[in-house]
């Protein structure tokens, strides 16, 4: 099966019907393994058991940026290649990305209160992630505000590509500015600066949450294709012509 074949929504639906159950099972299995490893991870000498929040905070934070990256590629697909599934992918990803970003903010806040002594600090990392969350909400609002999906897709694609400038700002905010948030300790030059006892559960949870995103995204794309068929049939019924 080629990428051209996947441009056909009917073939895409057939493919998702086949792989979604396997993806869901793999996600559940990996999440279960990751949760057990997280529970068994030793307490940190400084953070104590609070280090366990990191195993869910970091994957959500990574995915908040990764999903915007996926939407940016989809935006290029809409504007440059006019791929039929590009705007379907972008629209379906936005609420999932917003949820991951919300969880990154809230779990970070719940970690910050006992460790930093505050739920929130207007530093560069936290503020730039909050802006990312607001941009997700803006995109969702835009999709809902414009009734014609193709018009909404072009506007959303432009907004997504403009918003993509925030992703490197989030990533490097801890290097460019003096922030309360600690610098990168996994994805950094010279390799991870984290003990295996924490790195392994963290990576397992990161892969599990990534699989969760792929599963939810494919299912949401399937729903969006069906929604557009419903819309086409409604218009057909109204006009009395074939869809």
């Amino acid at each position: 099966m080629t990428l051209t074949d996947l441009a056909n929504p009917t073939r895409f639906l057939a493919l998702t019907a086949r792989i979604l159950p396997w993806l869901a099972a793999a996600t559940a299995l990996l999440l279960a393994i990751g949760l057990v490893q997280s529970a068994l991870a030793p307490d940190d000498y400084q953070q104590g058991a609070t280090v366990k929040i990191m195993f869910i905070h970091v994957p959500n934070a990574w995915l908040s940026m990764f999903v915007w990256g996926v939407m940016s590629i989809a935006a290029l697909g809409t504007l440059v290649w006019r791929h039929p599934l590009a705007d379907v992918a972008a629209k379906a990803a936005a609420p999932i990305g917003a949820a991951f970003t919300f969880l990154a903010l809230v779990t970070g806040s719940l970690w910050g209160r006992p460790m930093w002594g505050t739920y929130w600090e207007w530093d560069a990392r936290l503020t730039s992630v909050l802006i990312l969350f607001l941009m997700y909400l803006g995109l969702i609002a835009l999709w809902r505000a414009v009734e014609d999906p193709s018009r909404a897709a072009r506007a959303a694609a432009i907004l997504t590509l403009v918003g993509a400038i925030n992703i490197p700002i989030i990533k490097f905010s801890v290097d460019w500015w003096n922030t309360l948030h600690q610098p990168a300790s996994v994805l950094r030059m010279g390799g991870p600066a984290m003990d295996r006892a924490y790195l392994v559960p963290l990576l397992v949870m990161a892969v599990a949450f990534s699989l969760l995103f792929v599963t939810l995204h494919l299912a949401a794309m399937r729903n969006e294709i069906l929604r557009r068929r419903v819309r086409a049939l409604q218009m057909l019924q109204a006009s009395g012509r074939p869809a």
Partner: protein, 59 residues
């Protein structure tokens, strides 16, 4: 597994993530069923796609 003095922060974090993931799954499942039902209603009323396939047919 002792969670220490900050157990409430840890438990709340995991509970919130679990709740949000469940909400996402539920939202997608309910939305899927809603779209399939609407497509089935069109099919039942004789409105079909230009391809001649059933409205909800994905094959």
């Amino acid at each position: 597994m002792a969670l220490g003095p900050y157990a409430s922060f840890i438990v709340t974090s995991y509970a919130l993530v679990a709740a949000m993931v469940l909400i996402l799954i539920l939202w997608i499942v309910v939305d899927y069923r809603r779209q399939k039902t609407r497509l089935a209603e069109f099919e039942a009323s004789g409105v079909v796609r230009r391809s001649g396939r059933g409205a909800g047919d994905i094959g």
